[in-house]
Symmetry: C2
Subunit: 209 residues, 2 copies
Amino acid sequence: MNTSSAGANVVKISFKEQMLQAREDAIVDTVNRLLAEKGFDAMTVDEVAASVGIAKASLYKHFPSKEHLAAAAMVKVMQRAQAFIAGLPAGGPPLDQLKAVARWTMEVQLDGEMPSLPSQNSSLRAALMADRNYMDGLMDVSDRLGAWIEAAQANGSLNPGLPAIAVLYTLYARACDPVLEFLKAGGQHSRDEILEMVLSSCFDGLNAR
Amino acid sequence: MNTSSAGANVVKISFKEQMLQAREDAIVDTVNRLLAEKGFDAMTVDEVAASVGIAKASLYKHFPSKEHLAAAAMVKVMQRAQAFIAGLPAGGPPLDQLKAVARWTMEVQLDGEMPSLPSQNSSLRAALMADRNYMDGLMDVSDRLGAWIEAAQANGSLNPGLPAIAVLYTLYARACDPVLEFLKAGGQHSRDEILEMVLSSCFDGLNAR
DNA sequence: GTCTATAGACCGATAGAC
DNA sequence: GTCTATCGGTCTATAGAC
């Protein structure tokens, strides 16, 4: 095998992989949208295949089960979160960083891009816990948020009476806060107003200050 | 028909109805527990029948569909909420009343007695909206909470910058706040500590005061 | 003997999986 | 495109109350 044919081979493999990757991206995007729209249980694999425009059998060439499809969508969202966090201007007040992340999370949900998974489904939980990419992303995000939480508590901007883990969970919970969809469905407030209200109730609380 | 036979008839009917009512209560309690444990989609009608200890066909003598089973469970929870609200000492500070209701809601969830329904399921939504008892209960509770919210905002204890509807939704959302289950699963905090933390983050906010 | 309610087999639809 | 499992919902034979 000479250099030129080897080169062609390399290009061909790369191209093929690129196609596979592109289709996988299309699948994951579709799954992500369907998960956000209808939730895991209501989403069917047939629907995914039809929506992507490929045969159901082809889906199973990429992902071995419905759970793995959902896990792939979660991985992608987690990577988006990591990218957002990495893109934040470093050195800002930790409280502002936390607020920015909370706001971003809610924006993703309002935009219909946040997969909604049943927290009780055990097979799904197992698939997520077994997914290295997901768990690594989760750990990474948790570490970064945890550091900001502790820094914000240390500098007196965040309530030091709450355990950091409780604060972390409270921030994560904004990703599936039903208040957002309720207010959106009410139609009485703009997207920005909704974001401000929920962000305020989260950080400032319901009490008067 | 003479008086004595009429009397016997009345007693007999009453007894029969009592049996039916007792079984219906058993069904609703079982449904409530299963809904809290596994959610609507994962709960099967066969499972309900087996758990109650009756035949599935007998279930359908009481409730015409799975959705109506869930609606019945929701009605019962709503009635419990109404009873709790009615039992609150009248005349207290409205903010305290709201906190008491929020705490009660979270206790119900922590005790595994809060049905978890998918908010996206349209047939379930339709069944709930069509259920007079449920809607009446929801309106009643919303009216009472709404009055307290406005009173608390008027007396300066609750942030008047938030629309009352946003406050109401935020309180309702405590009934399905995943932070409770996360903290409980963590095992690092007692039930009371968890309640205090979430209640504090809800009313006082995450920020330092 | 009649009548109701039950138990449990059964059906059609649909999902995931291959 | 097929296969199998499972689910919501129905049907029928029967047991027991009266």
